[in-house]
C-alpha cells in the first residue's frame, strides 16, 4: 500500500482539514441555533460557553489550515507548467483538465470557483469565533448578533461544501500526484 507525497498532502488538506471543518460546522450551527436562542430560558453554563469558544476557535484554525495548505502547497502542484512537448500530462493536473473538452469545465468553472470561494470560510468563521469569544453566553441578549453569526457560519458551511465538492471531483478527474512514494503497508501476495 503506497501513497505519493503529493497525494498525502491532498488527503490532509481535503479530509484532514476540509472534511473535518464541514463536520464541525454542522455541530456549531446546531449548538448556536438551539442553545443560544434568545427565547430559550435554559441556562447556558460557563462550561458550555468555554466549550463553544474552544470549538469555534478550533474550527477557525481548521479553516485557515485548509485554505493555506490548498493555496500554498497543493495549488502550485496543480497549476505547474508542463515543459514544451510534454505528452504525458498526468503530472500537470490543470493542463490535463484543459486538454479535453470533457474535463475543461472542471478547470474553468470548478477550480476557478473553488480557489476563491473557499476563502469565505476562514473569514466568516474567524469572525464568528471572535464574536463568541467576546460575548459568550451574552449573545442570547443580542438576537441580531446571533442571527448574523449564524448566517455567516451557514455561508461558511456552503462555501466549504462547494470547495470540498469541486476538490473531490478535480482530484478524481486529474489527481495531484507525484513526489516521494511512501509505503504504508506491505501487502500479502
Amino acid at each position: 500500500m503506497e501513497i505519493t507525497e503529493r497525494s498525502l498532502w491532498t488527503l490532509i488538506h481535503g479530509m484532514g482539514f476540509g472534511a473535518l471543518y464541514l463536520l464541525a460546522c454542522a455541530g456549531a450551527l446546531v449548538e448556536l441555533y438551539r442553545r443560544y436562542a434568545p427565547g430559550d430560558e435554559r441556562s447556558v453554563t460557563a462550561r458550555d460557553e468555554v466549550f463553544l469558544r474552544t470549538y469555534l476557535m478550533v474550527m477557525a484554525v481548521l479553516a485557515w489550515l485548509a485554505v493555506l495548505s490548498g493555496a500554498y502547497i497543493i495549488y502550485p502542484w496543480y497549476r505547474a507548467a508542463a515543459p514544451a512537448g510534454t505528452t504525458d500530462l498526468s503530472g500537470f493536473p490543470q493542463k490535463l483538465l484543459m486538454a479535453s473538452p470533457r474535463t475543461i469545465g472542471w478547470y474553468s468553472m470548478g477550480m476557478e470557483w473553488k480557489e476563491h470561494v473557499a476563502w469565505l470560510t476562514p473569514i466568516s468563521i474567524t469572525m464568528a469565533a471572535v464574536v463568541f469569544l467576546h460575548y459568550g453566553r451574552e449573545i442570547k441578549n443580542h438576537p441580531s448578533l446571533r442571527s448574523a453569526v449564524l448566517g455567516f457560519t451557514l455561508i461558511s458551511f456552503v462555501a466549504a461544501g462547494i470547495a470540498g465538492f469541486f476538490g473531490a471531483m478535480l482530484n478524481k478527474n486529474a489527481p495531484v500526484q507525484g513526489g516521494a512514494t511512501i509505503t504504508m503497508m506491505q501487502g500479502e501476495k
Partner: protein
C-alpha cells in the same frame, strides 16, 4: 449605521460584534472584486502575483485579508464602546457576503 446610546441594558454594547460582522462582509466582497479584477485586467493580474507558484491567487487573497483586517480595525475603534443599529449592519454585511459568494461563481463573474 447611526450610533445609539451606550450600553445594552447593562450588558456589553453590540458595537464590537457589529464591527466584526461588517468587516467580514467587506472582506468577502473585496475577495470577489479582487478576483474579478485580476481575471479581467492583465495589469492587475500580474500585480497580484505575490508568489509565483500560486500565481494571482496569492495577491488576491493576501489583499483580501489586508482589506478585511483593516476594515475590522477601523470599525472596531469607532464602535467598540457603543451600540449601533445592528439589524441594519447585519443586513448590509450579509448582503456583501452573498454578493461575495455569487460574484466568485465564474458564470456570474463572466457576465461583468
Amino acid at each position: 449605521m447611526s450610533a445609539q446610546s451606550k450600553g445594552n441594558g447593562g450588558g456589553l454594547p453590540n458595537g464590537a460584534g457589529a464591527a466584526a460582522i461588517l468587516a467580514a462582509g467587506i472582506g468577502s466582497f473585496a475577495l470577489a472584486v479582487l478576483a474579478i479584477a485580476a481575471d479581467k485586467v492583465a495589469a492587475i493580474k500580474s500585480l497580484m502575483i505575490f508568489w509565483k507558484p500560486t500565481g494571482p491567487l496569492s495577491g488576491v487573497t493576501t489583499c483580501t485579508i489586508v482589506v478585511w483586517l483593516a476594515a475590522w480595525l477601523v470599525l472596531d475603534r469607532s464602535w467598540t464602546k457603543r451600540d449601533v443599529a445592528l439589524a441594519r449592519v447585519s443586513t448590509v454585511a450579509l448582503t456583501l457576503l452573498m454578493l461575495g459568494l455569487l460574484l466568485t461563481f465564474p458564470p456570474i463573474a463572466d457576465l461583468l
